[in-house]
């Protein structure tokens, strides 16, 4: 795979058709920033065959440092501390890096402090349990992959926690008394399937139907019925249906069309919604929907022969436009680096580089990152190991069994 020539990229500029609006002017501003990056890249790739290069050492350093101390800017994520653990460990694992054993132990113990005695994990020690932070904590523990880490999860209480959040229509609140949207169903399913507490089908009764009602006329999924199709919710909705074995309920043609049109022709990255701007994190949210669709197409006998989006254009965007030269990755040129975007841009890079069992690499061999499981966004080997570990235990008895007995 090669970089697109600069002269080709320029031709893909947004066509305002003499009808400028706020959307088109913001789009043109972004294109200007991106083109500057592509211009510099076309210049430097003449002298440097390694270009574009994934700055693995810089990213590793940034991530490792972040496991110790974070500046007070991160106060806004005080209620998302398990997320910080997940973003860091997953990004490192894609780079093929494990934490040292003492650091793994420390992180497992920290996450244990975030677990509520009533089940589920909160945003920090002592905080109310929340579905999103429980998802992040379970993922981080699975990535740590030690017996100590696995054993942090109180599976019996976890199941009780999930039952408390379930709504009669099949959706899930994010916390008791909190909002319900597609994230809730996805997080609950991801957690339950990874930790091996999925035996109780009543827990997800009507969930598939509720999720399907979020597929919009555009083809993507919205956060709740009636809202606009959105990349993050589309990933959650589709992954939820695949875990439920109900992906046949999706209008996959409309979904695929919506998805491919979210890839931007000049930038190469994905936008989250129609007529919005490119953002590196959607490389994963939109990108990971593709392998899930391939599995649907495979079942229907139409296995695709290549990625159905432009893998090279996406890698180009991530490598040329989204790297901070001091480590860490960003939404788009001009933005600050952060752990969330570092995690999801690298995850998107992983999706782009791996098609079924094949590798499609832009740039030097050293740019290659490890594959990620498109349902959980954890490495497939970590998923397998965890599933095997939890399968040796009995399913915790669900709260409904007990009420039937009394």
């Amino acid at each position: 795979m090669e970089l697109r020539p600069y002269s080709e990229i320029v031709k893909n500029a947004f066509n305002t058709e003499n009808y400028p609006t706020k959307t088109s002017s913001e789009q043109l501003n972004t294109e200007k920033l991106v083109l500057r990056k592509y211009f510099e890249a076309s210049d430097s790739s003449k002298n440097n065959l390694q270009h574009p290069e994934l700055l693995k050492d810089k990213h590793r350093q940034y991530l490792i440092n972040s496991t110790y101390k974070l500046s007070s800017v991160y106060e806004v994520l005080d209620a998302s501390q398990p997320w910080l653990c997940y973003w860091i460990t997953h990004a490192l694992s894609l780079l093929g890096i494990q934490l040292e054993n003492t650091r793994k132990r420390a992180m497992a113990r920290f996450l244990a402090k975030c677990q509520s005695p009533d089940g589920g994990f909160g945003g920090g020690p002592g905080q109310t349990p929340h579905l999103a932070t429980t998802y992040a904590a379970v993922n981080a523990l699975v990535i740590l992959g030690t017996e100590e880490a696995y054993n942090v999860i109180n599976r019996k209480k976890l199941l009780e926690f999930l039952w408390r959040l379930r709504q009669p229509d099949g959706s899930f609140e994010m916390h008791e008394g909190g909002e319900a949207d597609v994230r809730g169903v996805y997080c609950a399913l991801s957690i339950a399937s990874l930790a091996g507490v999925m035996n109780d089908s009543a827990l997800f009764e009507n969930s598939a139907e509720w999720v399907v009602s979020c597929q919009t006329y555009e083809g993507g999924f919205s956060g709740c019925p009636g809202m606009e199709a959105h990349g993050g919710y589309t990933f959650c909705g589709l992954a939820a249906l695949v875990i439920l074995n109900k992906s046949h309920l999706v209008d996959e043609k409309a979904l695929l069309r919506w998805l491919v049109f979210k890839q931007m022709k000049l930038e190469g990255g994905f936008q989250g919604r129609t007529n919005k701007l490119t953002d590196g994190c959607y490389s994963f949210w939109q990108g990971a929907a593709f392998p899930l669709i391939y599995s649907i197409l495979h079942t229907a006998g139409h296995t695709p022969k290549t990625h159905l989006f432009s893998s090279s254009a996406l890698q180009e965007y991530l490598l040329v436009c989204c790297q901070n030269s001091n480590g860490g990755l960003v939404d788009k040129p001009g933005k600050n680096r952060d752990l969330y975007h570092t995690c999801y841009t690298l995850s998107g890079l992983s999706v782009a580089q791996h098609f079924l069992d094949k590798i499609c690499l832009l740039g030097h061999k050293g740019n290659q990152v490890m594959p990620t499981h498109p349902l959980y966004n954890i490495r497939p080997d970590h998923v397998r190991k965890a599933l095997l570990y939890f399968s040796q235990f009995q399913f915790p008895r669900s709260p409904t069994d007990e009420t039937e007995r009394t």
Binding site: T21, F110, M227, H302
Partner: protein, 325 residues
């Protein structure tokens, strides 16, 4: 209400120095011996949250606890534990919820992309059963960012729950006049019609006419094309049998327009006709193949793999091998 968002206020007094809090022992975060993602909290933040943890542990429901949650929420509006506890206090003290609406409104206007503040607002409206200020609030937020997802979601919830559809299409029109590429506004148009008149034959006719006029103005506006496809989901004859739409796309194509969205819809019209047994010979597998190739090679190269995939599916479904072409 006083605003304790620290840096704006030189007179800010730490809780540990406030006499009315002297009976409380602050409770530090139960941190690891070995630091993990340890945030370097500012003094104000740590001070406030140390007292917050202490009152949560005591389950204290009081005026001072209410004031403390205000500071905590201002310091980090994403702390759902704070908001949930604040709601417990509001109920416990039977507070004036209209005052609370004003408080959360201020935070929403500063932090309009945050789940917790909007959820708090929603719960208050539910408790009060009073949606009278919500349209105005969301319009205020949307006037600054017309695509704010949270604002739209709140607006849809209010409209649906309290049946406030009146005037909503006019608002949508206003936003579309301002920016015809605002996809959130197109989506709202669909939402309103779907929940009011429904897509009856007459509504469908009017909406198709409106949408085609907008596409005529800008032919590469994906929002309008997607809306058109959304409308045609309600046409019993399908995507490829609406005479107005057919006439429109053919005219546009004849005028040498090659918008990828135009070519893409013709491809799908062809596939529908071929799949149904090919009633309309103008929409043939052969034409779809040619369009896919044009898209791949000239008009939509970034999506070449997708168009190749469509091309392959035409070959396998229509029985006309494309390998010889």
């Amino acid at each position: 209400m006083s605003d304790y968002s620290s840096d704006e206020n030189d007179d800010y007094v730490l809780y540990k120095n406030r006499p009315e809090w002297s009976d409380i022992t602050p409770l530090a975060q139960d941190d690891n011996e070995e630091p993990i993602v340890a945030i370097d909290y500012t003094e104000n933040f740590k001070d406030c949250y140390d007292y917050f943890r202490a009152i949560v542990q005591k389950k204290e429901i009081s005026e001072r606890a209410l004031e403390l949650t205000q500071t905590a929420a201002n310091l980090n509006p994403a702390n759902y534990t704070v908001w949930q506890y604040r709601r417990d206090i509001l109920k416990g003290l039977d507070k004036d919820l209209h005052e609370e609406l004003e408080f959360v409104e201020k935070i929403i206007l500063k932090q309009s992309k945050n789940y917790q503040v909007w959820h708090h607002r929603k719960v208050l409206v539910e408790w009060l059963k009073d949606p009278s200020k919500e349209k105005y609030l969301t319009e205020h937020v949307l006037s600054k960012d017309a695509k704010n997802y949270h604002a739209w979601q709140h607006r849809q919830w209010v409209i649906k729950t309290f049946k406030l559809y009146d005037g909503e299409l006019d608002y949508v029109d206003l936003l579309l006049k301002d920016d015809i590429r605002n996809n959130s506004a197109w989506n709202q148009r669909y939402f309103v019609i779907n929940n009011t008149t429904g897509f009856t034959e007459e509504v469908l006719r009017q909406e198709i006419e409106y949408t085609l006029s907008r596409i005529r103005e800008i032919t590469e506006n994906e929002s309008a094309w997607n809306y058109l496809r959304g409308l045609l989901l309600h046409d019993k004859a399908g995507l490829s049998n609406n005479t107005t739409v057919k006439a429109f796309v053919e005219e546009l194509y004849e005028s040498n327009n090659r918008s990828p969205f135009l070519l893409a819809i013709i491809v799908d019209m062809c596939l529908e006709q071929v799949g149904a047994g090919g009633g309309d010979s103008n929409y043939s597998a052969k034409r779809a193949v040619e369009l896919c190739k044009d898209l791949m090679e000239k008009f939509d190269t970034v999506r070449a793999n997708y168009w190749q995939h469509m091309l392959d599916s035409i070959g396998s479904e229509s029985g006309e091998g494309t390998s010889g072409n």
